[in-house]
């Protein structure tokens, strides 16, 4: 039982993991992540990779919507920019995947900042509509600029290679994806320990006061759009390389809504929440499908209604979260930690 957290230097007090319990938990988590691909079968590896990509995308969206308070429905469009940029550079120009991925991130950041310009004048729902316009414009360009993107036809992307090694299995992709997810998580956490991140949160909480404190709203809002889109673009680029195929159907407004649900369920303004939300929203449909298969033998009619039940449960879960835990999975995790920290005297 501890009476408080005490440090004797500011450096220790400002560290990311301030207690031994936190450090140990982090090490255990990393060990688990490192051991996972050696014990898991292909199905679970596929799911893990999907969670990894979604985590990167959710962190990106959380920077913009959770931390800076700029609601974005353009997620799918920005992911499309990343996926098509990476796919085209790799497939048509034969660039190495890491170069094309980086280029895709930068291109998406630029496009994101461009569509972020209205954010100076628009707030809340109005901005959401403006970003929805971005989503539709990008997809329209993608499907109609046939000479560049191939229009509605799928774009085939060759497998990435690294050090002469083909990255063509889920096992190999796992390392690439989760390494990049780790980088995105760490840099984002760091960002919010400095004045850049504080400026973003200040804009969300009280933009007039932020400007009077010397924060250039326009500059920082565009920066938030750019940094956010950088990671969203990376999620798109990884999708392209991972699936070997890029189609516009993967980046519709449904995806934007899905990612928004991810960051709300996981926890707005939280990196760990982005991970929780991504895991939850990726694993829940898989879980429901498996459940349906398991029940099929006893209740044959289940098979026909499963797709509908899936949608309904999806919606239900979001509603339940908004009602019972608006702060998301991150809050539940925090409550669990607090419970055990004070156990057995929880007062």
């Amino acid at each position: 039982m501890q009476s408080g957290i005490f440090h004797s230097t500011y450096q220790a007090d400002m560290a990311l993991r301030r207690t031994h319990a936190e450090k140990i938990r982090m090490v255990l988590f990393l060990l688990f992540m490192a051991a996972f691909p050696f014990v898991a079968d292909r199905y679970y590896l596929t799911l893990a990779n999907q969670v990894g990509i979604a985590t990167i995308g959710a962190i990106g969206l959380n920077i913009l919507t959770g931390y800076t308070g700029q609601i974005s429905l353009g997620q799918g469009g920005f992911m499309a920019v990343g996926a098509y940029t990476a796919g085209l550079l790799t497939a048509r120009l034969g660039m190495p995947w890491y170069v094309s991925t980086l280029a895709a991130c930068l291109a998406t950041a630029a496009i994101g900042a461009l569509f972020g310009i209205p954010s100076l004048r628009l707030k809340g729902l109005y901005l959401a509509i403006a970003t929805l316009a971005a989503q539709e414009i990008i997809l329209w360009v993608v499907t109609h600029w046939k000479t560049l993107t191939g229009g509605v036809d799928a774009l085939v992307v060759p497998n990435p290679t690294l050090f002469g090694l083909q990255i063509n299995t889920d096992f190999r992709f796992y390392w690439v994806i989760w390494l990049l997810a780790g980088v995105s998580a760490l840099t984002t956490v760091n960002l919010f320990r400095t004045h850049y991140g504080r400026a973003f949160i200040a804009i969300r909480d009280q933009d007039i006061a932020a400007e009077v404190m010397g924060i250039n709203l326009f500059r920082y809002k565009l920066l938030a759009f750019a940094i956010s889109s950088f990671w969203v673009g990376m999620a798109g680029a990884l999708t392209a390389h991972y699936r070997n195929i890029v189609t516009w159907e993967r980046f519709t407004v449904d995806i934007s809504v899905l990612y928004l649900a991810m960051v709300i369920i996981g926890g707005l303004g939280s990196v760990s929440g982005s991970f929780f939300g991504a895991a939850f929203m990726t694993l829940l449909p898989a879980f429901l499908t498996n459940l349906g298969r398991a029940l099929k033998s006893t209740f044959p009619f289940v098979d026909t209604i499963i797709p509908f039940v899936q949608q309904a449960v999806f919606g239900l879960v979001i509603i339940l979260f908004l009602i019972f835990e608006p702060e998301g999975l991150r809050k539940i995790w925090k409550d669990i930690k607090d419970y055990f920290r004070l156990w057995p005297f929880s007062y």
Binding site: Y10, Q11, D13, M14, T187, N190, L191, R193, T194, H195, Y196, G197, R198, A199, I201, A202, R204, D205, Q206, I208, A209, A210, E211, V212, M213, G214, I215, N216, L217, L223, G269
Partner: protein
């Protein structure tokens, strides 16, 4: 136990009594409503200037013009910097004016509600932080050193305002009086050359007012920070301000030391009606 104050709070190095801000013939209207009419005033280094007047007199509008939230239709505001340069700030954006060293608090608390007290104060020091985006992303070297350096600075303000015990709390959860104190702290973290305080004691009980008055005097006397104060409590205003400007219906109807203002018949007439008790209180 107080640590010695190790950081300079006042970013202006002008000598006390030097002209720091001049407002010349300011006129501001919203449609047909005249908020300010031909207001002129001067502000000198290290003084406490109180702006008083009935509700709707234009006090907050004047502060908003100085901090760039409103842009007056006529008139000029000049800020006199350390180097002797005169900056016209009438048309500048708020963040630009903040960078010159003009900090403020708000009448209705406008803190960053979801941040801790510590982070609110750190956010107040935003304009002084220089580390670039890349080193911030890796939080290594320069960025980390800078954050720790400013943490030390912010701890000085925490000591000054006696809010040590709440530094990790989210400001949204704090009591009203403490939020007001944190807002003062956030403005102080800017190392202000001029501090504009919009009703820092509104809604406080006597004890909280005394604390706040003490903090304002500490900041002014120990660090020489120039303070512009809007306040309704006449007792406080008369006690702590060096000079007073009186506004009524957007016009300046009086200016001078507390004693002069107390005697000014126009002020008594306009501001208090015929009842003089509040002014003659000892």
């Amino acid at each position: 136990m107080l640590r010695g104050f190790t950081h300079q709070l006042n970013s202006s190095t002008l000598n006390p009594g030097d002209l720091q801000l001049s407002v010349e013939h300011l006129t501001l209207s919203f449609g047909g409503v005249m908020a300010l009419l031909n207001i002129s005033l001067e502000l000198y280094q290290s003084e406490i200037l109180a702006i008083i007047g009935p509700n709707g007199a234009g006090k907050t509008s004047l502060l908003n013009c100085i901090s760039g939230l409103y842009h007056p239709q006529e008139g000029h505001i000049y800020y006199h910097a350390d180097d002797g340069k005169q900056h016209e700030i009438t048309t500048l954006r708020p963040y630009h004016i903040a960078k010159l060293g003009i900090a403020r608090s708000f009448q209705n608390i406008e803190l960053f509600r979801h941040m801790s007290v510590l982070n609110n104060l750190m956010a107040g020091a935003h304009i002084h932080m220089r580390s670039d985006l890349f080193s911030s992303l890796i939080y290594w070297g320069k960025a980390q050193r800078e954050q720790i350096e400013f943490r030390c600075f912010v701890e000085d303000i925490i000591d000054l305002l006696e809010i040590e015990s709440i530094r990790e709390k989210q400001v949204g959860e704090l009591a009203y009086g403490l939020q007001k104190r944190v807002e003062l702290g956030r403005a102080l973290a800017m190392k202000p050359a001029i501090l504009l305080l919009d009703e820092p004691m509104a809604g406080m009980n006597t004890e909280e007012k005394e604390d706040m008055a003490r903090f304002i005097l500490d900041v002014n006397e120990e660090h020489g920070v120039t303070i512009v104060l809007i306040e309704h409590d006449m007792g406080v205003v008369m006690d702590i301000s060096d000079r007073i400007v009186v506004l009524n219906f957007g016009q300046k109807i009086g200016e001078g030391t507390p004693d002069e203002v107390r005697q000014n018949p126009q002020v008594i007439q306009a501001y208090l009606g015929e009842d003089q008790r509040a002014f003659t209180r000892k």
